[in-house]
């Protein structure tokens, strides 16, 4: 069970690297914003898996707070793309 969780975390980190490729390569700033959103979506399950790995439920709260606040950041970027903050 623990090895399976570690393998899942390694695969999620590899997926984060793939999205970092889009972050570097992205032709304009807003494709980079999409890469930021994808990285958030990858890191949240990594935090939840870490909570399961160390068996401490306080780590889930961090993932929750991060989900809400990064949504705020990406929403601000999208509003900037539309008509400026």
């Amino acid at each position: 069970m623990k090895t399976l969780l570690e393998l899942a975390l390694v695969l999620a980190a590899a997926a984060a690297l793939l999205s970092v490729y889009r972050l570097i390569k992205g032709p304009e700033a807003f494709s980079r914003a999409v890469a930021l959103d994808v990285l958030t979506l990858i890191t949240m399950p990594m935090m939840a898996g870490l909570a399961l790995w160390v068996r401490r439920s306080i780590y889930l709260d961090v993932a929750l707070v991060y989900a809400v606040l990064s949504f705020l950041g990406v929403m601000a970027l999208a509003r900037y793309a539309d008509r400026g903050v």
Partner: protein
Amino acid sequence: MNVDILTLMNLVDLLICLVVLVSAIGVAVHRNLLAAVVFAGVASLAVSYLFLRLAAPDVAMTEAAIGAGLSTVIFLIAVRKTRETEDGS
């Protein structure tokens, strides 16, 4: 003290550290300030995961609140009120 280096969790930490390094270089290099703001958000995200990995959930939560939520929005407002690209000096 016998510390095992090559575990799977250390591989995950190494990959996340690579993300931090790449995004920090991106913040330093890019002339487009909007892209630099996005790179700073990614660096804050990865550092927050590393804080969590180092068994400091309160620091990770503060980093998530300040780095991802607050500073991205404030930097965006600042970029909008000034100009979008940095002059090559």
